[in-house]
């Protein structure tokens, strides 16, 4: 946004505003449905009543990238799926984040072969990697909380651009 580049250093004003912006961003981070394999089952379990992602303001799993803030890549991404994934990522509105859920999305996991992308960060920038094969719902929530901590530590108004 670069408010400071236009208005100069405003000290406490931008800091407080940043905190408010970060708070708002972490409280309603709508995920984009990107279930590709077995991790998607755990993602569904995370959204279901036992773990209840709605507690974090994430109950809306958006099938449309235009209304999503967070892409949870759950499962192995094949080379054929990679352009689709990149296109959906490009269609998401800023600010956007990516969680690579599970081993396959993070680095290919056991599928070390020509058909599977060795880590989804070959095509999109990944914020949080969640280990596990598949991760249990708690692990995904832990990853989401790690992302929340990362977002809270960011400075959205100070970046150039």
């Amino acid at each position: 946004m670069g408010v400071e580049t236009k208005l100069g250093n405003m000290g406490i004003v931008t800091t407080t505003l940043e905190e408010a912006v970060n708070w708002a961003r972490t409280r309603a981070m709508w995920p984009l449905l990107f279930g590709l394999a077995c991790c998607a089952i755990e993602m569904m379990a995370t959204a279901a009543s036992h773990y209840d992602l709605a507690r974090f303001g994430m109950e809306l799993m958006r099938p449309s990238p235009r209304q999503a803030d967070l892409m949870i890549v759950a499962g192995r991404v094949t080379r054929k799926m990679a352009p689709v994934l990149r296109r959906l990522y490009d269609q998401m509105a800023e600010p956007k984040w990516v969680i690579a859920m599970g081993d396959c999305a993070s680095c290919g996991g056991v599928f070390n072969n020509y058909a599977v992308l060795q880590g989804v960060d070959e095509v999109v920038p990944v914020d949080v990697y969640v280990a596990g094969c598949p991760p249990r719902p708690e692990q995904l929530i832990h990853g989401i909380l790690t992302l929340h901590a990362k977002v809270r530590a960011s400075h959205p108004l100070r970046q150039q651009g």
Partner: protein, 173 residues
């Protein structure tokens, strides 16, 4: 018209009744659901009671790993600098948790029961390098009253290439 209203009341009564059903949600970060006794989480490298490491650097865990997540580099023990009671020890022991699929084959392959899987599952990283756990992060703390490794031991005490394990159940084919 009353018929339709009746249907509405009947339908909403189901919604109303669900408010008194028992709550099933685990409030995760505050309240953790207990895992099953045989749950396989992140690894721990164990020690003997005298503080020596159980791992003898044989790389059988790395060979058994279907995901190639484990890297072991062995080095020779000496009596001046002793890490494990065997002939060799693991100088480098790394597990990449973004590769590990928590199958537990390493635990089965280990001849000294050095590597075990615990119930810790909170593994998420903002950087891929953080996911590689080195030996320092995997080793369990030194038991009370024991010395940390490397230890200086008297010559002739540890001569077997594979340590004797008194607390080890006898293997029967």
């Amino acid at each position: 018209m009353f018929k339709e209203l009746g249907a509405l009341v009947k339908g909403l009564s189901v919604t109303f009744k669900s408010m008194f059903e028992p709550k099933v949600t685990f409030q995760y970060p505050e309240q953790k659901r207990p895992v099953k006794p045989r749950y396989r989480g992140r690894h721990v490298l164990r020690r003997y009671e005298n503080g020596l490491e159980r791992c003898i650097g044989c790389s059988l865990c790395a060979a058994a790993c279907p995901a190639d997540a484990i890297f072991v580099e062995a080095a020779e023990n000496t009596d001046e600098e002793r890490y494990s009671p065997g002939e060799r020890y693991a100088a480098v022991y790394e597990i990449n948790y973004l590769r590990c699929i928590f199958c537990g084959y390493c635990e089965d392959a280990c001849p000294t029961q050095a590597i075990v899987l615990t119930d810790q599952y909170e593994l998420s990283f903002t950087d891929r390098w953080d996911a590689i756990y080195t030996k320092e992060r995997l080793l369990e703390p030194v038991p009370p009253g024991a010395r940390p490794t490397p230890q200086k031991t008297e010559p002739g005490k540890f001569v077997n290439p594979i340590p004797e394990m008194p607390d080890f159940p006898e293997w029967k084919p």
